[in-house]
Symmetry: C2
Subunit: 407 residues, 2 copies
C-alpha cells in the first residue's frame, strides 16, 4: 500500500472549517488506498500570538523557553485535526515531535533534524490509522524541546517521509505549484509539472518561497519524491524529480528573483594576498550574510575593486563596517546601492546548451537594462540590475526563453 | 537547603504582569534560601479557549486528543514563567509533564498520577536553578499525553513534592487560607492557621473549593506538608498538618456546605435482602454519584423507606430511574426534592467530645430549621435542610460553636 506524507501549512489549518477541509482531503487519499501521515504547522496567527506573549515578558526570550512556548502551536493543530478525522469516522492519532522521537541538534529556534524513529508511526499506519505529527519541532538528545525555525514544518514532513521511506511527500500550500516565474509579475507565467531538485534548490534560494530550502536539500539527500500542491484547489501541482530525463525538454525551468538586495563596492584597494578575507571577515563577524561576490583587478594592476551583495536589512551595518575596512586598508573609496535586485535564470538544460548567457544579456540589453553584476553556476545565471527594471527584466527574459509555452 | 514546591493557579498566571508577579514571589523564596520547584496551571481562560476550538470540530472530542490539546495550556505558562524568571536574573528551566516523567494511568481527561521521577528536577535544583513544571498533565506508560482533569495542578504539585521529599508544598490561590466557613455567607468567618488533613478532606469534599480533594488525599498518603496561601496578599495562609496536637483546641474546625444537592426517597419497599443494591444499582449504572444514604424500617416492619442524595444536575435522571425501580419492586411511592442543601460540622475534636451533635441540632431547632436527613462520621456531622435555610443555618452553627473567636 503506497505511503504518502502530506504537509499542510498554517493557512491551510487556520480555522476549524479549514481543518475539517484538510481532514476531507486526507480521507480522500486514504480512500484512494494510501497510508497517510500528515504533518501540520501551527494555525496561522498562532505563532505570532505566542511571540507576543513572550515579548511582553522578555525582550529577547530565552531560546530554550521560546521553543517550549512555540511548540504548543503545532500541538494544538495535531489534536484538532485528529478530532476532525475521528468526527468524520476516520481513525487517527496525533503525536508531538517528542513522542515520535524527532531528534535534532540542540540549536534552539533553528535546530536541524538528525534522526527520526518511524517505528511508532508505522505501527499506527499498519493498524489502519492516519497519523498526524506536529511539524517544526523535535527534541535534542537531553529531551529538551527544539524548533526548526519558521517554515521548518516542510523539513519535518520530508524527514518523516525519509524515515518511513514514503512513496511521496506532498507539500500543500497556498500556491498550486512551482511557476516559471512569479505570476504577479509575469501573468503569462506557467506552472511546471516537473522540476529537478537542483533547479528547485536554485529557485528556492532565490526567493521563490514555495518550499523551505532546507526541506528541498533534505529531500534531495534522502531521495524523497516531493510534490507541491494547493490546499485550496485540485490539481497535480509540481513534482520535484531526481531524473533529469523526466523533465520537459526546456533549457530553462524558470526565472527567480530576489528583491531585497543591496550592493556594496570598495574601490582602489591595494592588492595583496588575503585582501578578500580582510574585506569580508568583518562583514561575516557582524553576522551579515554575503550573497554574490565579484572582484576585478583595476587597470593599474596595483589595486583591486571588490563588490558584493547583502540583504537590504543589513545594508547600513555592512556599509559602516566596510568604511572602517576601507580606512584600515587605505582603499580609495566605498560605494553602496540599496536599490538593486537580483534576477536569475535557472535550468539544468543550461549545462548542455551554449549561448544561454548571451541570449539573456541580449534580451536585457534590448530593453535598455544595465547589468551591474553577473554571477554564474552550472545551472543558473544571476544578474544584478536596478530595482526599477525588475518587472521589465523578468518579463523580457520570460519571453526570450519562451517560458509561456509548454515546450 | 529546604525544598519548597509552589503551585500557582490560572488566575495567578492570567497575564504577563501576573506571571512577572509570580516570578517575583518565587525569587523571594529563593532569596530566603529555598530550593524552589514551581507547578503552574494554564493561564485563566486558556483552557476554555482550547475547549472552544475542540467543540467547533467535534461535539464530543476524543479523550486522547483532548488531552493533547489541553496540555498545551500549561506548556505556554511554564515557558512564560521561565522567561520572566530569567529576565529577572534568576536561572530557571521549564518542563512538561512528559519531560519529567509524570506517569499516570491511561484514563484520559481524568488520569491519576502513579509515579514521578524526581531525578531530573533535583539535578536542576542542585545546579541552582528554579524548576518549573506543567501541572495537570502527565504521560501514560505508552507515552500518550494525559491530563488529570480540572484542578489537577494541585495534585501535580503535591505529587512532585512527594517525589522530591519537599519540606512544604505551597498552594497559591485566590483565597488566603481555609476559613471556618464561607465568608460570603458568614462575614465573621475566620482563617484557620492550621487544620488537620482529615478535616481538610471533609471540608474539601463538602464544597470548600480551596483545594482539589485528590490533592489533599495524595498529600495525606505521602505525608506532604501542605499550605494554602494567597497569590495576591502576604500572609501565612493555612497549614494542613498531620499532628492533631498541633491544631488549636477548638472542637470544630469549620462548617462546610454543599449547595447543589437533591434528595430522593422511595417509600414502602417490601423489605428483603439486597433491596439497597436493587435501588442503588441502576443509579450507579447511570453514572450518578450518590452521596448520603439513609434507610429506615417502616412501622409495619414489612417495608422499608430509603432516602439518598445526588448532585442536583443528576436529579431528573435519578428520579426517572428510581420510578422504574419502584415499579419493579412494587414500592408504594417515590418522592423527590431538589431544593435541599447539606450543611456539615467538621472537626477532629468531635471524636473526644460528646454532645456536639445535640448542640448542633439545638442550634438549628432554635432557628426553626427542620432537619431532613442526618449522617455522621468520626469527624463530621452532616444534615440536609431546606435550601432557603442555608445562610441562616450556617450562621447559627458558626455562632453556636464560637468559631469567630480564636479559641
Amino acid at each position: 500500500m503506497p505511503l504518502i506524507v502530506q504537509k499542510y501549512g498554517g493557512t491551510s489549518v487556520g480555522s476549524a472549517e479549514r481543518i475539517q477541509a484538510v481532514a476531507a482531503k486526507v480521507q480522500q487519499s486514504r480512500d484512494a488506498g494510501h497510508q497517510v501521515v500528515v504533518v501540520v504547522s501551527a494555525m496561522s496567527g498562532e505563532t505570532d500570538r505566542l511571540l507576543g506573549l513572550a515579548h511582553a515578558i522578555q525582550v529577547q526570550p530565552s531560546p530554550r523557553e521560546l521553543d517550549v512556548l512555540l511548540a504548543t502551536g503545532e500541538q494544538v493543530t495535531i489534536a484538532l485535526l485528529a478530532m476532525a478525522l475521528e468526527a468524520a469516522g476516520c481513525p487517527a492519532r496525533s503525536y508531538t515531535g517528542a513522542q515520535v522521537q524527532v531528534r535534532t541538534d540542540n540549536a534552539h529556534n533553528k535546530a536541524r533534524i538528525t534522526d527520526i524513529d518511524g517505528a511508532r508511526v508505522q505501527a499506527d499506519l499498519d493498524a489502519g490509522r492516519v497519523v498526524i505529527v506536529a511539524g517544526f519541532q523535535g527534541i535534542d538528545e537531553d529531551g529538551n524541546i527544539t524548533t526548526l525555525g519558521r517554515g521548518g514544518s516542510d523539513t519535518s514532513a520530508v524527514a518523516m517521509a525519509a524515515a518511513l521511506k514514503a512513496d511521496e511527500c506532498q507539500i500543500y500550500t497556498d500556491v498550486d505549484g512551482v511557476y516559471t516565474t512569479d505570476p504577479r509579475i509575469e501573468p503569462k507565467a506557467r506552472r511546471l509539472p516537473r522540476i529537478t531538485f537542483e533547479e528547485m534548490l536554485e529557485m528556492a534560494s532565490l526567493g521563490s518561497k514555495v518550499l523551505q530550502i532546507r526541506a528541498v536539500e533534505f529531500a534531495g539527500k534522502y531521495h524523497v519524491p516531493l510534490r507541491v500542491l494547493s490546499s485550496f484547489q485540485a490539481g497535480e501541482g509540481t513534482l520535484i524529480t531526481f531524473e533529469e530525463d523526466d523533465v520537459e525538454e526546456a533549457k530553462i525551468a524558470g526565472i527567480a528573483f530576489a528583491k531585497d538586495e543591496a550592493k556594496l563596492t570598495i574601490l582602489g584597494v591595494p592588492d595583496q594576498p588575503g585582501v578578500a578575507y580582510k574585506i569580508l571577515g568583518p562583514i561575516s563577524e557582524g553576522n551579515i550574510e554575503v550573497d554574490m561576490i565579484v572582484q576585478n583587478i583595476a587597470p593599474d594592476a596595483q589595486t583591486t575593486d571588490f563588490t558584493f551583495t547583502v540583504h537590504r536589512n543589513d545594508y547600513a551595518k555592512a556599509l559602516s563596517l566596510l568604511q572602517e575596512t576601507a580606512e584600515a586598508l587605505s582603499a580609495r573609496e566605498v560605494h553602496g546601492d540599496e536599490h538593486i535586485v537580483k534576477v536569475s535564470l535557472v535550468g539544468v538544460g543550461m549545462r548542455s546548451h551554449a549561448g544561454i548567457a548571451s541570449r539573456m544579456f541580449e534580451a536585457l540589453a534590448r530593453e535598455g537594462i544595465n547589468i551591474r553584476m553577473i554571477s554564474t553556476s552550472e545551472i543558473k545565471i544571476s544578474v544584478v540590475i536596478d530595482e526599477k527594471y525588475l518587472e521589465l527584466g523578468v518579463r523580457a527574459l520570460h519571453d526570450a526563453f519562451d517560458l509561456a509555452q509548454s515546450s
